[in-house]
Symmetry: C2
Subunit: 436 residues, 2 copies
């Protein structure tokens, strides 16, 4: 029986999960692969911390390059993260003709052009199922299961930290900063949470999803990103009144010859399947021309769920190695060299419904001024909430608009910003009413 | 550029969808496969009906065997259904060394032993994604995406007809027979609906899912099956009062060295993700040891969703043909020849909660007699509803039990059946409270 040997670079949480799975499910994997899938080495700068697992000391090294160069190693798993050393190791492994499995969405979203091209040129596999959606096999699904259909839309909740914070604000209450601090105390948010809460992580994942879904290149920098720092308890409460739940969504849609790709807090109808996806769960919806709607839900992060997807990629790469077909399917489904750059629709041209909250002095005529400014840009109003009355100080004026272009909205907001009765910055949250 | 040629046998609804997709997405598929995927022939007994698509007449034949024998044809799609001719054609195609794609769950569930073994021996692919869950890529997911993990449970809604009927009874109301007739009038239920409503179709699908999930043989005949004919409006209403929704579930669970595999109407907590899956949608949940919970939702049937999965299997088989790796992954993930027969837990040993509804005369002491009979079998009671009072005639006595074995329950029911005050057959519906 054959053997395929795996070198792991980056022995953190997910790496430990991968080692656990390879050890625990050795026979199970052998049955499915028809060969042994063996851990051949681990490289990390920290070889002494107790990870709660037993590993032969001879497998350990601080020298990632040596592990890559080791001719007995067939596949390299990169789980360091970031753009620096990780990039060097991935390219080194590819240059050595080794297939690579990684969970590094940041690296692939930002330096994909270089890395995908290198993997294809070298004819090796580049598996990155672990980079999007934790335990959800969404990469494989887009690449292979839906390969015969044209995707109309791919959207979902792809960041567990944001989903935890927004779910908690919705279900338990509290302002963003307080809930963020709780999430940090619980180990769910990082000490520096900006990558998550500013939407960068979601946009990294979207950059990969949109390229897989549409078979064209989408530079990461072309994706408009808005995080969840500005979402506050009042907006969550008003959303509920309008029948919505606020989620940070990553959204890609085909629109004629252009592609929409954007990350922002979104009001989703309370009856939509994504509205019920709470806490650390991720969920991705794919709308296919022929397929209709499919939804994929699973844990968005965590040691073992993510390790499962790494090991699935390892089995795939091992199978290709044994069968003499490495690089069997291009990393993004379509060979990168053939992929055209897609036209991402400018945010200004986006047409959607909006939730707007202004803080305004409670004087006669203020609502008329605000709605007048909207009307002059052709933005019509679906409903208004203006309930509280105060002699002094500002009260919220909440408006749910019909569909309007982002450009018109910006013009209207500029005009409204000049009104003396309107205080501070308005809250603006896009509403996706026609997600199905 | 290479070409792989497809022969279609069975030009019904799904077959028409496959032809449409191959025509419409020809360039799209070529980009992903790196070769042409071409319709090389269609065999059907009816070549004249208008299917709303244009096909070169030279491709049409009434002779399936001739199409199979045609050396220019690489892959055969079997979409006839049933055990008869379909079986012959599938085995013939395999014997000719051609890969096969089929949506025929009945055939594979009942004659899988013969067909899987033949495909493996011939070293061809046997794709059957279209046989379970319509547009949901669940076969591929179990076979490849979760190959490194051990599955604890796989369960879900896999029959759209039953789900439509039960959803409608829940949301709109009505008795089973009336709603069935409406479904038949709407073309959602067949003229002879027994395969669907008696749970046979769900059990066919479960037979495939359980073998994929656990890598062992499970004969179709070892799966206990109960359909939805006996579910009535009263039970749906009482379920709601207890916080449940009634769904026809196909359930597989690992339990020590045994496997549970069963199909029956099930009360699912109203908050469970499956409770919201309505109408023609299917949904399957996989609980993995490492993975945790994942849920897959999509349209359970229909021309284009199902055609999408057929075409995905065609692309896969074509890729393997071009790469010289047909039979790359065994049809059930583990080579059939190596698969042990799994021990399916006898229904008598099943431990679950029950919903029981007895029709009893409203006399003093009847409830005590019923609960006494349950208590003597060690079955304790979570809650009781006995509301209506009538001088004459029977009133419902509804009981939600704690966990008990099916054997104890049967004994208790036999004793209760002998009570003079209890009329007719009780309604018994299993409750799955710990699905997560």
């Amino acid at each position: 029986m054959g053997e395929v040997r795996v070198g792991l670079i980056g022995w953190g949480t997910i790496g430990t999960g991968v080692v656990k799975l390879l050890q625990r499910n050795r026979a199970h994997i052998r049955e499915r692969l028809g060969a042994h899938l063996t851990l051949g080495g681990i490289a990390d700068i920290d070889l002494t911390s107790d990870r709660g697992i037993k590993v032969d000391e001879k497998l350990l090294t601080k020298d990632g390059s040596a592990l890559i160069a080791d001719p007995s190693i067939d596949i390299i798993v990169e789980l360091i993260g970031g753009y620096g050393v990780a990039k060097r190791f991935v390219l080194e492994a590819i240059a050595h003709g080794k297939s690579v499995v990684t969970g590094n969405k940041a690296l692939l979203a930002v330096h994909g052009e270089e890395i995908f091209a290198a993997a294809e040129k070298a004819g090796v596999d580049l598996g990155f199922e672990a980079s999007v959606g934790g335990g959800i096999p969404i990469i494989r699904t887009l690449k292979e299961a839906l390969a015969g259909d044209r995707n109309q839309a791919v959207y979902g909740i792809v960041n567990g930290t944001c989903n935890y914070i927004l779910s908690r604000m919705t279900q338990v209450g509290g302002e963003f900063q307080d809930v963020l601090r709780q999430a940090q105390a619980a180990g769910i948010a990082e000490a520096d949470p900006s990558f998550d809460i500013d939407g960068i992580d979601s946009a990294h994942k979207l950059a990969l999803l949109v390229q897989l879904a549409y078979g064209g290149r989408v530079p990461f920098t072309s994706i408009p990103i808005e995080g969840i720092r500005a979402v506050n308890a009042a907006d969550i409460a008003f959303a509920k009144e309008f029948g919505y739940v606020i989620k940070l969504l990553a959204i890609a849609k085909a629109d004629g010859r252009e592609i929409e790709a954007r990350v922002h807090p979104t009001m989703v109808p309370r009856t939509h399947v994504l509205a019920d996806v709470s806490g650390p769960f991720n969920a991705i919806t794919i709308m296919g021309e022929a397929l209709g709607q499919t939804v994929y839900i699973g844990q968005g992060a965590g040691m073992m769920p993510t390790a499962t997807t790494v090991v699935a990629d390892l089995i795939e790469a091992a199978r290709n190695r044994l069968g003499g077909t490495p690089g069997r399917v291009a990393p993004l489904g379509v060979p990168f060299a053939q992929m055209q750059r897609l036209r991402v629709k400018p945010l200004d041209d986006l047409v959607t419904q909006y939730y707007l909250r202004f803080m305004a002095l409670d004087r006669p005529g203020v609502l008329a001024q605000i709605t007048g400014a909207l009307g002059r840009q052709g933005i019509s109003i679906a409903s208004v909430i203006q309930r509280e009355r105060e002699e002094k100080g500002a009260v919220p004026v909440v408006i749910h608009t019909h569909e309007a272009s982002e450009k018109s909205l910006r013009r209207a907001l500029a005009a409204i910003g000049k009104l003396k009765a309107v205080k501070g910055k308005p809250a603006v949250i896009r509403i996706e009413d026609r997600l199905s």
